[in-house]
Amino acid sequence: MLWLAALPMLAGAWLPWVLLRPNRLAPGEYLRLPPAWVALAAVLALLPALTGQVRRGLVWLPATLALLVGVWLLGGRTAAALVGQADFARASAASGVWLYLLGAGVATYAAGLALPERRWVAWLWLPPALALLLGGHLAGWSVLVEGRSEGPRWAQELGQHLRLVGSALGLSVLIGVPLAVWAAGRARVADAVLGVANAVQTLPSLALLGLLIAPLSALANAVPALREAGISGIGVAPALTAMTLYALLPVLRNGVVALRGVPAGVIDAARGMGMTAPQRFWRVQVPLALPVWLGGVRQAAVLLVGVAAVAALIGAGGLGTYIFKGLQSAASDLILLGAVPAALLAVVVDGALRALEGWLGRRLGRAA
């Protein structure tokens, strides 16, 4: 895996690093790294794999270093390219950067896998990278130039994205948890409920959004009170409906599986010792089901971050707005302005909920 990661990094060091264009849309010229930097990048590309031959436990050090140097060079080279250029000029990351960062990322991830007890070393790059970003070192990078000109609007769309995900997740938990509790005790009901939720999930998200436009606008036309409450065929209402339906399956499925996974002997013992039904539920079933159930909530959350990007198509806003705007005007910087934060958001949400799951699992004696 480490040698496999070295390959794109070597290619990246040699390939063009920066695309300099006189303005956002015009064609431009590709700039490579200066020879000294190419040499350094190449050394850093090989270092994780070489370290891996000697001490697997230390791979994280060169891998993290390579990743950070990649980010740092991106900032430095884009800034250097813009010197003496007009205000409209844009310096984008070219194929070299992407390949290099991909390889370094794989190496860092592999370094984390090699240390199961200290997985977190795979995340050591994050604080310095954030410092580079917030300290303005990356200010020359075209995506951030776009971001600066969008400024408050971008923050607004990010907020909208988070609101969409949070609301849909909250709604699906509110609906899915009681439904799962109700269905878990009844085999036939559970099958039916899971079947319906499964069917919804097989619909492509775009199709589901489209399907909801007609009935919701009809509903809004028929009941004026709903229209005044902001419900219509396009906008937030259908997006939220579709996203909630989407997130329902993982919440439901894991809930049913988790609740049915509580050993029958444990329930029988609880009953036989005189626990009432609510006591059995809160003291036994919930704590034993929670780690697996939370896994479903995590899947739903990650899924929703992605689906929320599509929701921009029907006017619900969110980071997807930039992706579709960028696609329409063939401005890759704009696409990245939406896509990169969305991807990071998914990774962060996944990591945070996974950590919570692991902690709960250990506390509740499942992973012992």
Binding site: G265, V266, D268, R271, G272, L364, G365
Partner: protein, 310 residues
């Protein structure tokens, strides 16, 4: 004392238990024995109302169990099952404290009680108190299960195949340990089992069931020497006597006085079946029984026939 009167449990047209009349004597262990599907577990679960009878009634210490709320009834009855059913998310101590906590007993008194009980079932509290069920062997887990059932000091203990899931070695040890505990505490115990050895060794009384009805109720000796039907004789098997002997030390049969000269010597702790085997091997009708170097007396093969322990 538990009295079962005209107890019925019907599912549709078929009876799981039919017109069962039985009195489980106070302070004794009654084994509910029988082939699978004979209604023994159903009977047990009707005592603490995990299953509601369709007819008849059950009196616990003279009180009809239907006059109590099921949860209140169950908190006053110890319950041990084959799957053990410890709560995996709680420590051993928290598991044992379950019923006292449900009853709202004082926390500090309960903590002390937990330690006593762990001691009683042969687990060092300092070592096991904070362990999780996943860290225990099957035998240790069921010891905790027994401690948990005894935590609120219930007069009655229901056990559903309590040692059925353990490996033979752990089962023997736990049966032995439980017999000691029962000798000390004198609970009214109802133990469901399909294991004839277990019923004959542990039971003061045996209730043999078949097809939802009671086939015979009596002491192990009664069942072996005076079977009420061919079914009882067949179920216990031709070697029932040997099974029973296997569960008792030879010292229980000792008679004072000197044996015939040249009798082989055995130790008092040897089980009676092995003692009989020694007689057969050595071709002698009597054995000299020693404890260490001290002569306890002698035992003849006639003594091994059906006499209960002193």
């Amino acid at each position: 004392m538990i009295q079962v009167e005209h107890l019925d449990k019907r599912y549709g047209d078929s009876f799981a238990v039919q017109d069962l009349n039985l009195t489980f004597p106070e302070g004794q262990l009654t084994a509910l024995l029988g082939p699978s599907g004979c209604g023994k577990t159903t009977t047990l679960r009707m005592i603490n109302r995990l299953i509601e009878p369709t007819g008849g009634r059950i009196l616990l210490g003279g009180q009809d169990t239907r006059t109590l709320k099921p949860e209140a009834l169950r908190r006053g009855i110890g319950y041990v099952i084959q799957q053990i059913g410890l709560f995996p998310h709680l420590s051993v101590a928290q598991n044992v404290a379950t019923v006292p906590d449900l009853l709202g007993r004082d926390r500090r008194a309960t903590a002390q009680r937990v330690d006593e009980l762990l001691d009683l079932v042969g687990l060092d509290p300092a070592v096991y108190r904070e362990k999780r069920p996943a860290e225990l062997s099957g035998g240790q887990a069921q010891r905790v299960g027994v401690a948990r059932a005894l935590a609120a000091d219930p007069p009655v203990l229901l056990m559903d195949e309590p040692f059925g899931a353990l490996d033979p070695l752990a089962r023997d040890r736990l049966q032995e340990a439980f017999r000691d505990i029962q000798r000390r505490l004198g609970k009214t115990v109802v133990m469901v089992t399909h294991d004839i050895d277990e019923a004959l060794r542990l039971g003061d009384r045996v209730a043999l069931m078949r097809g939802g009805r009671l086939e015979q109720f009596g002491t192990p000796d009664d069942l072996i020497h005076h079977p009420a039907s061919d079914f009882v004789r067949d179920f216990l098997g031709e070697d029932a006597t040997l099974r029973q002997l296997a569960g008792r030390p030879v010292s229980a049969f000792v008679r004072a006085g000197l044996p015939s000269p040249g009798a082989p010597r055995v130790q008092a702790g040897l089980n009676a079946r092995s003692a009989l085997s020694v007689m057969l091997r050595e071709g002698h009708d009597t054995l000299e029984v020693l404890r260490g170097e001290e002569l306890l007396g002698h035992v003849a093969w006639q003594d091994l026939r059906g006499k209960g322990p002193a």
